[in-house]
Symmetry: C2
Subunit: 175 residues, 2 copies
DNA sequence: GACCTACCTGTCAATAGTGACATGTCGATG
DNA sequence: CATCGACATGTCACTATTGACAGGTAGGTC
């Protein structure tokens, strides 16, 4: 079960409401690491609160509840991160598509590969901007989160882009 | 729904039984792209057969049934691969763990990062061996599958390894 | 003051996926 | 010929996740 730990991680960076957590999944986490909609986040927050791993620290306008991690929650997150999983869960549709590419005619495969190369190049460009904004902050703590993530995403994009270019070149040479 | 397409892709490389498909998920696909156990593969094969996208071409010993893709199945796979998804499904526990790393004390984060660097280095070494075996084959068709996948996996491992090393260095410099 | 947009939380039915359990077969080894 | 490990397919209960539906609020603009 990764969702509760994802929530603990986000909340341990800084307290937030369920709504803000949902936004965080849409913008950052959900694009590379783990997807979750508000329909799983809200019930999970209630479960975590019941288990004493998070607590409501503030009630704001429009029924908004701000959650923060408790010491018990922080300990749970630490234990989880330090315990290496035997076989981590993987489910990435984009990568699956790349794996299946060789089932296509070379001409079709080239179309898809060019699209991938372009999309990842664009993603990398965007993340380079994000990275500049976080460049000076320390690695752990509130700011480091964005920095580690941006750097990871950037390298990820570049690796896929380079792979796509390599595959395009090889395919073209064969034709 | 990605599982049916993953099955169509594997079967379009060459016909196989459900058991062999299960092994393929364990060895290759499930490690980077998409996990599935035999408990979801067998029912899905029956659904695909009923829909006319695959068919049983051979019945072997121990009740083994060899499945092959039909023309309709091949067309379905092609359409799916050529249609870019608005937002692809992502769910990668390993990446999630990396994102949450900054919630740890620097000392703890270093432990995890060193473990990641080591594991990815080892994975890369293994895949370099695999790559050599497929080096001469053409890109599309039965052999290209392994080649594209091995190259992708290798670059993936190297990117994560380099990221981990970068993070370790920065963390150590701060300490 | 009407209206609109973003904010904010939820339920519920349906679907997807996992783990435990069940069952039987073929081939090799001692 | 007994036994064992890999081969081979399946069900079922449980859990996780998604999508459709639901309902209400604060702040800003016209």
């Amino acid at each position: 079960m990764s969702l509760p730990h994802a929530l603990l991680g986000l909340l341990s960076v800084h307290p937030r409401s369920g709504y803000e957590l949902t936004k965080a999944f849409e913008r950052d986490l959900g694009r590379y690491a783990w997807q979750a909609g508000h329909t799983s986040i809200y019930p999970e927050l209630n479960r975590l609160a019941e288990a004493g791993l998070v607590e409501v620290t503030h009630e704001g306008a429009r029924g908004a509840r701000t959650y923060a991690v408790t010491p018990a929650g922080r300990e749970e997150l630490r234990t989880w991160l330090l315990t290496p999983p035997k076989q981590a869960k993987v489910r990435n549709e984009q990568v699956l598509r790349m794996f299946l590419l060789s089932a296509l005619e070379p001409a079709d495969a080239l179309v898809v590969l060019r699209r991938i190369a372009e999309a990842t190049e664009q993603g990398a460009t965007e993340l380079r901007t994000v990275r500049e904004e976080h460049a000076a902050a320390p690695m752990t703590g509130a700011e480091g989160f964005g920095q580690l993530a941006a750097e990871f995403g950037l390298r990820q994009y570049e690796a896929v882009r380079d792979w796509a270019r390599w595959a395009i070149e090889r395919l073209e040479r064969e034709a």
